[in-house]
């Protein structure tokens, strides 16, 4: 179990005195590692709160560079770091908040050739990505490696969150065996998003990862959190458990290795910010 230094005891004092967390929980969190895939609207608040809480090792994966149009929601970045790789910008921010944590940057596009080797370096994976293909890739990779996947998403005024692959709960394919028609998929560049919405979801993703890392149960395994900032507020949905016929996590999986996800989904695995034309 990872030991806490005197300075860390001072830093995490407000958490150490929580009976349900305590020294044991803090050391457990220090001994855990989380990979955040996507250092954008969801990934930024997630990284911030994981670093603040004292996660032992944080992986930040993103192949993109900071752009001005990111800053309304991607709050780890800043004006000075426009043009910098998001993974590195994120690392600078979290190290400034908490120099005790170890940060590894992965400035790559995640795909079937590198995913298993990267994911296997971490205990918990956070899906903070922005496209369908990568979501299926992450799901399959996590199932194959036996790692929990804290999945969040946001668009317009809405957010969704659930934990896949945890203790009898479903995986992404259990819910969505087939990918959506490309014409039905909207990303934040096309549909827009109010910045604070991924702020809320990303913070909750950090909470879920911390619950798991500290030995507690996540809130949203086999539950789907729906958030509607326009009027509906928060709702929690009871989900199906792991499905015996699931192609990757079921009794007789047909998927035993990563596939070509762009082909599977009929869409690209990136979300390059497009020029936005305002009428």
């Amino acid at each position: 179990m990872a030991q806490l230094s005197v300075e860390e005891v001072g830093r995490y004092g407000r958490q150490l005195i929580l009976p349900e967390w305590g020294r044991r929980g803090q050391e457990s969190v220090k001994g855990n590692s989380v990979l955040i895939v996507g250092v954008g609207g969801l990934g930024c608040p997630c990284a911030l709160y994981l670093a603040a809480a004292g996660i032992g090792r944080l992986g930040l994966l993103d192949y993109d560079r900071v752009e001005l149009s990111n800053l309304h929601r991607q709050v780890l970045h800043c004006e000075n770091r426009v043009g910098v790789a998001k993974s590195e910008s994120g690392r600078d921010a979290v190290k400034g908040l908490n120099s005790h944590i170890s940060v590894t940057t992965h400035t790559v596009l995640l795909d079937s050739s590198n995913a298993l080797s990267i994911l296997s370096q971490y205990d918990i994976i956070v899906d903070a990505t922005d496209n369908v293909a990568t979501r299926y890739l992450l799901n399959d990779g996590c199932v194959l490696l036996g790692k929990p996947l804290v999945s969040g998403s946001a668009l317009r005024f809405e957010g969704q969150l659930t934990v896949y692959g945890w203790r009898g709960g479903p995986c992404y394919r259990c819910l969505f065996p087939s990918p959506p028609p490309p014409a039905s998929v909207t990303n934040c560049s096309e549909g827009g998003v109010l910045g604070v919405v991924p702020g809320v979801i990303g913070s909750l993703q950090a909470l879920e990862a911390l619950k798991i890392a500290s030995g507690m149960e996540p809130l949203y395994s086999q539950q789907l959190l729906l958030f509607d900032a326009l009027g509906g507020g928060f709702r929690t949905i009871r989900l199906r458990p792991r499905q015996p016929q699931c192609a990757v996590c079921g009794e007789n999986p047909s998927i035993t290795a990563l596939i070509d996800y762009e082909l599977f989904c009929g869409s690209r695995a990136d979300d390059k910010d497009k020029r936005v034309d305002i009428l």
């Binding site: 903070a128 969040g152 969704q160 990918p179 959506p180 709702r235 009871r238 979300d271």
Partner: protein
């Protein structure tokens, strides 16, 4: 012989297919057999959809990526297409989000 009143909700972008309206109070006409979710989906396709049907249905079910919930529960736990609608049920069709 009365109609079956239920509340429909469309979310996650699915509302764009039904006139950008999220909430619909509807009264399904009386019929000899109980209304199933299978029949409700067909009814929505024929009566509510303003946009391309293939963005809502595939065959007799919803298209991949749409999750159906009844009273805050995944329809998979309730019999999926065979679930029998009850008066005042709250049925949500939510498109799963992929953005971040």
């Amino acid at each position: 012989m009365s109609e079956l009143r239920i509340h429909l909700e469309f979310s996650g972008g699915a509302e764009l297919l039904v006139g950008k309206t999220k909430h619909h109070d509807i009264a399904l006409p009386h019929q000899p057999h109980p209304w199933s979710l299978r029949q409700l989906i067909a009814w929505i396709r024929d009566n509510l959809l303003k946009e391309r049907a293939e963005l809502f249905v595939t065959g007799e079910s919803v298209r991949p990526g749409i999750l159906v919930l009844v009273n805050s529960t995944d329809w998979e736990l309730l019999g999926q297409l065979d679930y029998t609608l009850q008066p005042n049920d709250h049925v949500i069709f939510i498109s799963t989000l992929h953005g971040g």
